[in-house]
């Protein structure tokens, strides 16, 4: 108790705590307006149609699984330990109502688990460990996860640490700007501008390469990058075209520049080096390419925002590092 004042204090403390709580409520109310970017944005909704795409995909012959020590260990375990995210629109996002993970990456991981185990309860096929760029290689090396499905760009540097199956999806970076911004028409116009991107994406490297004079702001999350463009902190937001299109669909104050992406970004499935996983997973990818299940999953996820038919899947092993 202060030595320079005296008197009963208990009541005052209670009042003060109440006031503090009230202030906090008011502040948090300011933070959530209707046009704020939402994490529960575009993406396939969980449900029977989505589940059916997973469970109608092929199941491996038991002799194939037995021939692979990696796959037979997973079959014995009964589920696949997946490294990824639960907040990536279109690729891997948790349906807040059902708790089911949906999206292109999530769907592929569920298909792979279904392929190995043959089980049909989609929710129980995989167990997710949230990974970030900082942890992916380490979690594979120490076998905390069996495979990483996390819009994981194949690069030669990363391929020294982990094995990559695929590529299973080829995209590239596009540019998002605020509606009405006609200064930025292409990647060269980013020079001298402030460009936001996600801190766990290779897009920052692409911006450095194609627009060396751009000032890069790294934010942790997609939603923060979109907010930065909306609020004028950044002139543009550079990331994978599919993800940006998903964002633009749920936020009508921003728009994605048309045309083809300015980079080629091959996504691979990260696997532990020194195991026989890569050959097995590549075999799985070839099967779902041929059966058309890859295209079905594409239509149900990325295809909801990218116009046109599913593209031809990229050729296995076609990029350095795969």
């Amino acid at each position: 108790m202060p030595l320079l004042v005296s008197g009963p204090r208990r009541r005052r403390t209670t009042v003060a705590a109440g006031l503090a709580a009230a202030t906090l409520l008011t502040l948090s109310a300011c933070g959530s307006s209707d046009d704020a970017p939402s994490l529960n944005g575009a993406g396939a909704k969980a449900g029977s149609a989505y589940d059916k795409i997973i469970t109608s995909a092929p199941v491996a012959d038991s002799s194939d699984v037995d021939a692979s020590t990696w796959a037979s260990a997973i079959k014995k375990q009964g589920y696949l330990k997946v490294g990824g995210t639960d907040s990536g629109p279109l690729f891997s996002i948790k349906d807040l109502d059902t708790g089911e993970l949906t999206g292109f990456d999530a769907g592929l991981s569920q298909m792979l688990a279904h392929y190995i185990t043959g089980k049909t309860d989609v929710k129980a096929l995989t167990k997710l460990t949230i990974t970030s760029v900082d942890t992916r290689e380490t979690l594979l090396q120490n076998k905390t996860v069996d495979a990483v499905f996390a819009t994981y760009s194949i690069t030669p540097e990363r391929a020294q640490k982990v094995a990559f199956a695929g590529p299973y999806y080829q995209s590239g970076d596009a540019i998002m700007v605020k509606k009405g911004n006609d200064e930025i028409k292409g990647v060269a116009d980013l020079n001298g501008k402030t460009v936001a991107t996600e801190s766990n994406s290779t897009a920052a490297l692409a911006v450095k390469k194609y627009a060396p004079k751009a000032k890069i702001l790294l934010f942790k999350e997609d939603a923060q990058c979109v907010a930065a463009v909306q609020q004028g902190r950044a002139d543009a937001y550079v990331l994978d075209q599919g993800i940006l299109l998903g964002d633009a669909q749920s936020n009508n104050s921003v728009t994605v520049l048309g045309g083809d992406p300015f980079t080629v970004d091959p996504y691979g499935i990260g696997l532990t080096k020194g195991t026989d996983a890569k050959a097995f997973v590549n075999g799985f990818l070839k099967k779902i390419y041929a059966s058309g299940d890859w295209a079905k999953l594409y239509k149900a996820t990325i295809g909801t925002v990218v116009k046109g038919d599913a593209p031809a899947p990229p050729e296995i092993g076609s990029v350095p590092g795969s």
Partner: protein, 214 residues
């Protein structure tokens, strides 16, 4: 190791930003915290209430929430503050609550007799604080204030999440390119450790100097 040696300049700039954030945040916290401590021990009830509300608010809101509120919430209300400035302001606000409590603890550690004697010889409230209480109180405040400094230093890493290009943010950028998480983060960890240890050593010396030798 080439990740570090090739990009030493880039990383050192990050160290500089981290130090700037820490120093600005800490100095801001000292000013605000002292003011609030004076409010809280002072004789004017409305100011005491203000000090209490302030401390309870900023001590109990996570720094990351505060950063997100200031950086992404305030622009919706029409106030846009730069990223670096937002980081420094939030660090100062958050740490000032702890500074205030450290000061108050120090002030309360000086026996009541000292204040009564000072009042008895006719010193005003300000004079009592300045000439009698604070010089004695500072002795017990040194270590808590060093703790707050280290807290500010380590919390400054949270600014990485909201785009301030300080050490952690730059470490993440390098890791993107080179996929060398362990090496990159060990480097960052060593820098934080070195600065924190240096702060601890300065605190130790200060405390030693101020100790009463009887």
């Amino acid at each position: 190791m080439h990740v570090i040696t090739d990009n030493l300049g880039f990383l050192l700039q990050g160290v500089l930003v981290t130090l700037e954030l820490t120093v600005l945040g800490y100095v801001g916290a000292l000013v605000l915290g002292t003011l609030m401590a004076v409010f809280r021990v002072g004789p004017i009830p409305p100011l005491r209430v203000l000090g209490t509300v302030y401390v309870e608010f900023f001590r109990n809101i996570p720094l990351l929430s505060l950063l997100v509120l200031v950086i992404f919430g305030l622009p919706d209300a029409g106030v846009t503050i730069g990223l670096f400035a937002s980081g420094a302001i939030c660090l100062a606000l958050s740490a000032s609550a702890f500074v205030c409590e450290a000061m108050r603890g120090g002030i309360n550690s000086v026996s009541v007799g000292q204040a009564e004697a000072a009042r008895a010889i006719g010193l005003s409230f300000t004079q009592v604080l300045r000439f009698v209480i604070l010089p004695q109180a500072f002795r017990t405040m040194v270590q808590p204030l060093v703790n707050v400094f280290i807290g500010v230093l380590l919390s400054s890493a949270l600014a990485a999440a909201v785009g301030v290009p300080e050490l952690t943010n730059r470490t993440e950028q390098l890791n993107l390119q080179y996929a060398e998480a362990v090496v990159c983060f060990v480097f960052a960890g060593v820098v934080y450790l070195a600065v924190a240890l240096a702060a601890g050593a300065v605190g130790g010396r200060l405390e030693h100097r101020m100790a009463i030798r009887r």
